[in-house]
């Protein structure tokens, strides 16, 4: 009960200036996180420089919950590379290995077929209706490095959004009631 009274007192005693200062520092933190993210996008040349592995199709190499660092360069796509691609019509990117490459002589355009290491068949079933090959514009980046387990935070927050709300609510309460 004493704790409740204390919290109510501290909410009542907030002055406008202090509140604005805190709001601005919070805004600064969020903005610097955004700046770092955009800078990473510039440096790696990829639209999403970090992705979380969502399925078990690349086990035992990549397990669900690992995060991958991507890099996209103008180098041609070659067999064996692990690429992240988007299929038209689906918004979840897929991380699989390139198993076939056919590169055109004149234009340099390339037909690519991918397959998950742990899958039995290739990815033609995953591509859009009537699509046999991937092309360069489907590919968002090559995986160059990885960290295990760190992506579970994102998976939990996506699959059980209630946890996200609880976390943000608790954070907000902490910011408001802290004395500094």
């Amino acid at each position: 009960m004493g704790w409740m009274g204390e919290t109510i007192d501290s909410i009542k005693s907030i002055q406008i200036r202090q509140l604005l200062t805190q709001a601005i520092s919070l805004g600064m933190i969020v903005t610097s996180a955004l700046i770092i993210w955009k800078a990473l996008m510039c440096v790696t040349g990829s639209e999403s420089p970090v992705v979380v592995v969502l399925s078990g199709s690349m086990e035992p190499g990549f397990k669900r919950g690992d995060i991958l660092f991507l890099h996209m360069s103008k180098d041609p796509i070659r067999a064996g590379e692990i690429v992240v691609f988007n299929v038209d019509g689906r918004d979840i990117p897929i991380v699989h290995r390139v198993i076939k490459v056919h590169e055109r002589e004149n234009t340099g355009e390339v037909d690519v077929l991918t397959k998950g290491d742990n899958n039995y068949g290739d990815d033609r079933l995953l591509y859009a209706e009537g699509q046999q090959w991937l092309h360069r514009h489907h590919i968002m980046g090559r995986a160059v490095g990885f960290l295990p387990y760190v992506g579970w935070v994102t998976i939990i927050m996506t699959e059980k959004p209630i946890i996200k709300y609880i976390l943000i609510g608790a954070l907000g309460l902490l910011v408001i009631t802290s004395k500094d």
């Binding site: 035992p60 190499g61 990549f62 041609p76 070659r78 067999a79 064996g80 590379e81 692990i82 290995r97 198993i99 076939k100 490459v101 056919h102 590169e103 055109r104 002589e105 340099g108 037909d111 290491d117 290739d122 995986a143 160059v144 490095g145 990885f146 960290l147 295990p148």
Partner: protein
Amino acid sequence: MHSFGYRANALLTFSVTALAFICAISSFSDKFSNQNPSAEIQILNINRLKKQSYGNDEVSLTLDISADLQSLFTWNTKQVFAFVAAEYETSKNSLNQVSLWDVIIPDKEHAKFRIQTSNKYRFIDQGHNLRGREFNLTLHWHVMPKTGKMLADKIIMPGYSLPDAYK
């Protein structure tokens, strides 16, 4: 200054920083390993070279693959993914790479092997360019670490060719 919150925060920050540092160092230590893998591939038999009913050439062959990839394994290695690809050039395509067979090598003991197998994935051309075609067989490997940067390399073995007529 000595509340639980401050102490928990300091502890968490320090442990995350230390963990990130250890991950970076173990990835860096991979640069000092001495790697000299070796491999040899023989084609035992070309089983079929045919034209598919809806157009493209297809080959089925049996390979004898022997390789020693033990020197690629370090303490930071989780697995090595190895695959054999046929690489060739046609008039329409400057490069074709078709993966014929692959394997996941989980540890050093399994990294020295000899296997005779028919191609795991279908060798299909874009067109009718496979008769009499010369091609390279390349053994690629991809070292996937427990944490950090991945490393890929290959051995190219040139000089293989396909028969001049369908069979």
